[in-house]
């Protein structure tokens, strides 16, 4: 702890794709697409949105699934298509890309902050670290279950304020 947080290479590349994009307005438009299970996170903040390209009237969007079987991926894909077609784009292709594999390291700092405020403890930097209670910030927590209400979460309980809470697992 205390060290300067290092940005992951894949993270930097993703940010560069957005920064240097020829169609920044489309990236901004897709900021309105949220994770259906965690509505405070956009698919960009979550690290799912990888690339947006425009070729004439044709839009190609690349997304990376969080978990292999995450049912929310299908919803996100449809939401991307809807957001773009509502804005007048009729030729939209959403492509799923597995590699490089999604990691919680891709989450933006804003996303981590938003998660904590929403009551979900943001992911730690490795699988052996314990999360902080999002209510009272105590580090005295117990794991209740390796899995929570969705594949990406585990269930914890705070020993100080006694509140149970969801933890966004480190992956």
């Amino acid at each position: 702890m205390g060290a300067i947080p290092l940005l992951h290479q894949e993270c930097l590349e993703r940010e560069a794709r957005r920064r240097e994009s020829a169609c920044p307005e489309l990236w901004d438009l897709l900021d309105t697409v949220k994770d259906p299970e965690i509505p405070v996170l956009s698919i960009w903040e979550l690290g799912v949105l990888q690339d947006v390209q425009r070729d004439g009237d044709k839009i190609t969007v690349v997304i990376t699934p969080t978990y292999s079987g995450c049912p929310a991926m299908h919803a996100m894909q449809q939401d991307v298509e809807r957001a773009l077609s509502d804005a007048g784009w009729s030729q939209v292709e959403v492509r799923q890309q597995l590699s490089p594999a999604w990691s919680t390291r891709w989450m933006t700092p804003q996303a981590r902050q938003a998660l904590a405020e929403y009551g979900i403890a943001p992911p730690c930097t490795n699988q052996n670290e314990l999360p902080q209670c999002p209510q009272c910030h105590s580090e005295q927590v117990d794991r209740i279950s390796e899995f929570g209400s969705t594949a990406c979460k585990a269930l914890y309980k705070c020993r100080d304020c006694l509140e149970p809470f969801d933890y966004f697992k480190c992956l």
Binding site: P65, Y67, S68, G69, C70, S99, A101, I144, F147, L171
Partner: protein
């Protein structure tokens, strides 16, 4: 179509079938697990395997000369066409049996997916890169259960030992390369399953000692899944898994 593509299709299908059938078995625990958190955990692990199956089926569909879709490959093939290993199709048994199987498979998958990440085929490597993280997480949990039941009460120890004894002969098939795999080995596409055995042995032996369980003798073994020769349980599983698509062909969610 080249011989290579046929072999690659067989390879992807074998992995897809393993994941689908195991995922289906695990979700049978839904609403029946010992307590709520365990119910959630088993359903989520099941979901990981169904997702893994989907990834492999989608790739297989791209290679299929008959141009079947991923859904058709999963839902419209008969038992003899499935290439899954026998270990994944065995009924769930009691909770000890389910966790014993899961632990032995998780130990295998952690080694297998690590190796498959280095596959010369970028699609297989990409799927493995996702799967490895999930399997590491699964193993942490199944390992904890092995310890908790093995080194638990007299009853839980007894059941875990019985489960291991019953399942042991089905583990050998995990380490045998199919003809398709042997063909793909030379090009660095397939993983050499037999080479994973020592690392698997070490993991399993260490955990068994910790859990005060004894490693069963290598006396018997059953095989046939990769040739489409399945146990009597397989057809029953498919009848439930495939019911909807058989009764209402082409139905979508």
């Amino acid at each position: 179509m080249t011989t290579d593509q046929t072999a690659l299709l067989q390879y992807a299908l074998g992995e897809a079938d393993d994941a689908l059938i195991l995922g289906q078995r695990l979700c049978e625990w839904c609403y029946h697990a010992p307590y709520l958190e365990e119910d959630l955990a088993l359903a989520n692990v099941s979901l990981d395997f169904l997702g893994r199956a989907q990834n492999f089926y989608q790739y297989a569909a791209q290679l299929d000369p008959q141009q079947r879709t991923a859904d058709q490959l999963a839902m419209l093939r008969d038992s003899r066409e499935f290439r899954n290993l026998l270990i994944v199709e065995l009924p769930i048994g009691d909770f000890a049996f389910t966790m014993a199987r899961q632990f032995l498979l998780d130990c295998f998958y952690v080694e297998f997916m690590t190796a498959l990440q280095g596959s010369a085929d970028p699609n297989m490597a990409g799927i493995a890169a996702k799967a490895i993280k999930e399997s590491q997480y699964h193993l942490r949990r199944s390992h904890e259960w092995l310890l908790r039941l093995g080194d638990g009460t007299e009853e839980s120890h007894r059941r875990m030992q019985i489960a291991l004894d019953q399942i042991w002969g089905y583990t050998m098939e995990m380490f045998e390369n199919s003809p398709a795999e042997n063909e793909l080995l030379a090009e660095g596409i397939a993983v050499d399953r037999s080479a994973l055995k020592p690392a698997w042995d070490t993991r399993v032996n260490t955990a068994l000692v910790e859990a005060t369980l004894s490693r069963p003798e290598d006396g018997w073994s059953v095989r046939g899944g990769r040739d489409g020769i399945h146990t009597e349980h397989h057809g029953h599983l498919l009848s439930e898994l495939q019911f909807l698509q058989r009764a209402y062909p082409g139905l979508e969610w």
